[in-house]
């Protein structure tokens, strides 16, 4: 939206001209006041438009992407749990995952579903107690995937963790 008209400019005065009367000065001040008021209104409008644009990118709007990725994650897992898939079936699922991740990245979302990575309490929410022992905690199972949008963790992945030495063993 553009401001429809130009703001009136101040009149120029030269040293040759006689000094303006009080009335002229007051009129001038009045004009300046109105111009400022319009400028303020214009800036206010600009601020509102910027805020609205930022609000437009609400996290809630990303929900359909997240819900679809979650549904595919759970479907993929249930297929793998129920039967031994052939390598072609595995490959098929992997291709769909690649496409899914590419789609998510188009809207700036990254899915957290990697196993074998160090437990990061910013990205992962542990669901069970970590066994006693040595070794760094690593993610062994993803119960629910997590999602990151830019710098913001929309939801952490819910995970099972174990000590690194145990998983290697």
């Amino acid at each position: 939206m553009m401001w429809p008209k130009f703001v009136r400019f101040l009149r120029k005065t030269s040293t040759e001209e006689r000094l303006p009367s009080h009335k002229d000065i007051l009129e001038e001040i009045n004009l300046v006041r109105k111009s400022l008021r319009k400028q303020a209104a214009f800036l206010d409008l600009f601020r509102k438009e910027v805020i609205e644009r930022l609000e437009d990118e609400r996290i809630e709007d990303l929900n359909p992407f997240i819900e679809t990725a979650e549904a595919f994650f759970f479907y993929d897992r249930s297929l793998k749990e129920i039967s031994d898939l052939s390598s072609n079936q595995h490959q098929g699922l992997e291709i769909v995952w690649q496409k899914m991740e590419a789609l998510l990245s188009c809207v700036g979302i990254e899915i957290v579903r990697q196993r074998g990575v160090p437990f990061d309490p910013r990205l992962h929410e542990a669901m069970e107690r970590l066994p006693e022992g040595d070794g760094n905690p690593v993610v062994t199972k993803i119960l629910q995937p997590g999602f990151v949008h830019g710098e913001r963790v929309i939801k952490p992945a819910r995970v099972m963790i174990e000590r690194e030495s145990e998983t290697k063993g």
């Binding site: 939206m1 479907y75 309490p121 542990a126 669901m127 107690r129 970590l130 119960l143 913001r152």
Partner: protein, 572 residues
Amino acid sequence: MTEILCGIDLGTTNSSIAFLKEGRPIAVDIEEGSAIVPSVVSFDEETGRTFVGRSAKNRLAAYPDQTVRSIKRLMGKETKVQLGKRSSSPEEISSLILKYLVDKASEKLGQEIKRTVITVPAYFNDAQRRATIRAGELAGLEVSRIINEPTAASLVYDHVSFLDRIPSPYVLVYDLGGGTFDVSILEIKGEIKEVLASCGDTALGGDDFDERLVAFFLRKLKEETGVDFSNHDRAMHVRLRETAERAKIGLSDDPFVWVKEVGLTHVNGEPVHLNLEIGRRDYEEMIGDLVQKTVAKLEEALEEARLNLGDIGNVILVGGATRTPLVQKTLAEMFERPISHSIDPDLCVALGASVQSGLIAGEPLGHILLDVTAHSLGVKTADEFDRESGDADYFSPIIRRNTKVPVRKGELYYTIFDDQEGVDVEVFQGESPSCKENSLIGKFWYPLKPSPAQSSVITEFAYDKEGIVHITLDQKGYSNRKEVTLDVRRRKVIEPGDEAKEQEILNYIIEKSRRLILQDALPEQLRKNLEELTDRYEDAMKNGKDESLIDRFEDQLLDTIEEAEERLGTIE
């Protein structure tokens, strides 16, 4: 640089911090774009690192011996909490939460925070209050005051513009959080707000609503598979809890929600899915007894304060679970008037604490201007009839007055006759139960497909900041949807095609003027002047009239706007 005036809601489950910006309270986003921080602290023995908030919560299950939550329950007690090998007092743990909030807020605002107001429950005794002050001091803060949570909530509403003030010194604060319920009655004596009564239930909250939905899901799964999953693995329960929470939130706005969960588990080599629709009515039946429990506590508080329902003025809703329509409906029936919230119920205690810090510092407080609906919006239904004409005359509100916009709300209505041809949808705004006394915004015909009487029609209103309401009607189960757009300010249906043209706002002055015209507090003569000048100015702009004429109208309109703002005290 002036000092930051802030307030902290140090909660049992979550905490938040707010500050005053030019006299207006604003909550600070602390982590992951959220102002709500879990009140959890975790100490990593291996690295010596301390975690607070979400990351601490994420460590809770893995490191229960090194993590602590709900420390507020132990405040004021002579006890130590063991975090691994480290032993800490409850106030030391609380100080870590306070420090985290203050450090993050300082970082965000680019200025150090030195002083704060902290809120505590009304029932906290002296030892608990002193422990809270000590926690603040340990966090390196000067605690300028400890105030009661219900007092803080009511303070924010004191500064909200355009709310109906009920002339009574008694305010009731109904606080239903995730896990706890508190009800308090305050008496306002000038600047002082005295807590007359405070009752509660430390084991009742929105989480119980979720559990009822989880139990419903488990019953449905058992019906379908014959297997009882109630003692199934924890992972499935956690997932069902999240699904329940999503459904609960959905049912706050819509009369029905679909729950679609893939591969919850498997039985005999077959995946088990959850694919069902829940109606708000069914949900309300599930949680009805829980809401009644809060009503019993409310009555207990009234008795303690020696007051009747009729003595209570404003009713303030605090806590996320008060978004549940049944809670608002139950209270509305009790108090015989609409009860809703205009300020985020999760944040209003922190916002109120920051208002208190402003009052202490003698800061001039501005009106809290909200983008709220000035009137209730709804449709005419045949629940009541006009005695003279015999025509239907009942105003059924869908979006209540003072609801924050943008908002989307749906309601369920039923047809009257078998094979009813259609419905004359009449949209009204106003507060009277009789449509005759409200203003008609627009009407249109909605043809129905042949169906038996009592067929459901879902009516959804989506109201935006520009005063446009998008109405969606859906004859449930008959694939019969109709979408209509109404301009509330101009009181007309926007036909498809000219929507963009109609929505186009000529300029900011006109938009601002139209907003002011809607304000109830505006003197009548001023409203008329504004309406007349706005129409003239708009007409001159649209029809490309003489520049000097446009200039004159613009000057007159700007002066009148300024006058109106001065009268309303709303100049930003």
